[in-house]
Symmetry: C2
Subunit: 287 residues, 2 copies
């Protein structure tokens, strides 16, 4: 835990939220706010303070990559049931920094062309380059979540995918992509009230999809599929974090803290000039 | 001029900044703040107020496109000499809205593959889809600016490109892409002081490129090339706007105003549900 970014936490959020040995999703209370006891109002203030830090670290990360070959990147993978708040994370956490340093991809139902390739084909193309903060709104994990729940692929293919995912993520980590994999965890009741709100407000109708109710009816199967994902793919190179998300303000603060932690571990530095500063000053002055 | 977005302006910025018949770039004072007399401090406040409007209009634009086929988009094209503030526009104007509705492309020196294609090949791939706000940080205009100044293409090829650009932009406009083409106009002295600042601050060294001084020495040729661009490509379908940019706060406010104007002309509406709201409420309630 770093003093700068997480001084308002009573416990370091990274280990608190991390999926480790023996983790059971069913033990996580979606209403909880692990490591943070200051409540909603302070949570919003602390989010704003963290945004300034996030913004500076992002700029350093980007700056460093312009000069040093093979610079690191960060990749935030967001997975969740519908309405759990992925969009709010993008808007309120990621949206606090310079869009020029962010590479955001929302993965939808695969196209026919994508289905003609291995499931990681479309993913690989969106891996953030050096210096970028990549965000996957849904990801390759859909292929072992809805893929499993809806039987879109046979069991041995799903099995192959867990192995492929670990190899893929190990490879990314090896070339400097710091993965932060987050599942936003809401309760079934919370989802019901959020979907109902979308139905009650005409300015939210566009966010509602009748298919959401169909998926909702498979809730236990999805939770089991997530548990399998955690069992199989929470590795040292690319750990999972489960963030209780019934309180939106907490989920945002927690994801921000996880990103700050990744950035502080990278500890990006302003690069030194690869040109002669004094000579350039003279050359510029002469114009 | 709409009462909502531009009440702080003494004149409507769109016609004031628009490149029309007989426009001369040399007549534009880069220190001026056309249509706005309230000064820097109020400018920052008005930018924040405009950001909230921009954010709502962006969400409506995006929402509408999720339901209606062939919905409109906005494309902001940013051109300028180095250090004129393109990055600040992206960060402070575009950065005020949801990254999920923005499609940003920074065009660099073309790759060998890109050079093997027509100059519009790489541009076409980045045209924003329905509902998006696209931003081009540099654009196809580089091919008639640096292309002309540095003699990267013969005169008849440059000539062909003006025609191709107008046809291309007409086609985009015809399918609902509202183009807002902006040149940020700074003075040579202002550029000199901004580049010098980059040399004086170690945390800005990464933004400095010795090539910037070489380009700076071609200032008159670039101004002539911009004048040609305006003469040939400021059309009704895709007009140019020249924004005085020595005052960064003014340039941001003015570009925001131009975007608000484009969005208000589109006047995007929350889409009506394409499902039976009451039936969905009952179906959800039963889960």
């Amino acid at each position: 835990m770093t003093a700068t970014s997480q001084k308002h936490w009573t416990g370091d959020p990274s280990p608190l939220l991390r999926v480790g040995e023996g983790f059971r999703l069913s033990d996580v209370d979606p209403d909880a706010t692990p490591g943070y006891e200051r409540g909603k109002k302070s949570g919003a203030e602390d989010l704003a303070a963290g945004a300034a830090q996030f913004d500076e670290l992002q700029e350093r990360l980007f700056a460093q990559s312009r000069v040093q070959d093979g610079s690191p990147a960060v990749l935030l993978v967001l997975q969740a049931m519908d309405s759990a708040g992925k969009g709010g994370i993008v808007r309120h956490v990621i949206g606090a920094t310079d869009p020029q340093g962010v590479h955001l991809t929302a993965f939808k139902k695969p196209t026919d062309e994508e289905l003609g390739h291995d499931f990681l084909w479309r993913i690989e193309k969106e891996v953030p380059g050096p210096g970028y903060i990549g965000v996957f709104d849904r990801s390759h994990y859909e292929d072992v979540l809805i893929g499993r729940v809806r039987g879109l692929a046979p069991a041995d293919e799903i099995e192959r995918r867990y192995v492929a995912i670990n190899e893929f993520e190990n490879r990314l980590a090896g070339r400097g992509v710091h993965l932060v994999k987050v599942m936003l965890h809401i309760s079934g009741d919370e989802q019901k009230s959020r979907l109902m709100e979308r139905l009650e407000r005409p300015d939210k109708h566009w966010k509602y999809n009748p298919g959401d109710v169909d998926e909702r009816q498979e809730w236990p199967a999805y939770m089991a599929a997530y548990q399998h994902v955690f069992d199989r793919t929470s590795t040292d190179a690319a750990p999972w974090f489960v963030v209780p998300a019934n309180a939106k303000w907490y989920a945002r603060l927690a994801v921000q803290a996880l990103l700050l932690d990744a950035l502080e571990r990278i500890d990006p530095q302003w690069p030194t000039a690869d040109f002669d500063v004094q000579a350039e000053k003279a050359r510029l002055a002469a114009t």
